[in-house]
Symmetry: C2
Subunit: 107 residues, 2 copies
Amino acid sequence: MIEITHLFSALGDPTRFAIVTKLLRDGAQPAGQLQSVAEMSAPAISRHLKILRDAGLVHQRVAGQSRIYSVVPAAVQAIHGWTMDHETFWTGSLERLEAALEEHDKS
Amino acid sequence: MIEITHLFSALGDPTRFAIVTKLLRDGAQPAGQLQSVAEMSAPAISRHLKILRDAGLVHQRVAGQSRIYSVVPAAVQAIHGWTMDHETFWTGSLERLEAALEEHDKS
DNA sequence: AATTTATTTAACTGATACGTTAATTAACGA
DNA sequence: TCGTTAATTAACGTATCAGTTAAATAAATT
């Protein structure tokens, strides 16, 4: 099961966020190429990848001596889904304006 | 400036996620009422609220001796925006199916 | 078979995170 | 004004996190 807090926690680290961003931008790629996102040793990146894997955010495919990583679409979709669950809250400029004004009056 | 990794990091903790969920469900409320989300001391909740505030996820309004907390719409919207930036990646059942099959063949 | 390449796992270290209780601050009601 | 209520800040302990270097694993190359 994908836990939403695990997804948020995994993306909360700048290095891991950079890894996911690179994967989304350039597509699936081996662990070695992901090392460029930060000035950091290979083992450090490898452990970040494990955390992303455990969270269900990325998938690992073995290809020879390389491990090809890719973002799991359902994971990003889960985050999107969470925001949509509360869409009425943050959507709508009129409501937001009214809420802001009301908030301002109270303060 | 709201940093997306700060938002993710803030929501990555189960207690803080529960706080935000309660605020979204029941609307703005004082710190004291948020204590019920976890079996935890008031100071612990207070520090979680500070982290949420620093991340820009919640807003604090002073009302007498109470501090009324509410979720900042723009913060949830920012997360929504991030998922939409990569919408083409995770959207579309046909593409997802093809990608999954292709992935399966390679494995 | 020996070596190089790609990546992970192991062992260790310092910093940060998260909880506790005690003390502080400030508003409210008697 | 004094005691209560609401919340935060201070001080502290422990656990987890994130980095390092060294060692291990396994595929590719010579």
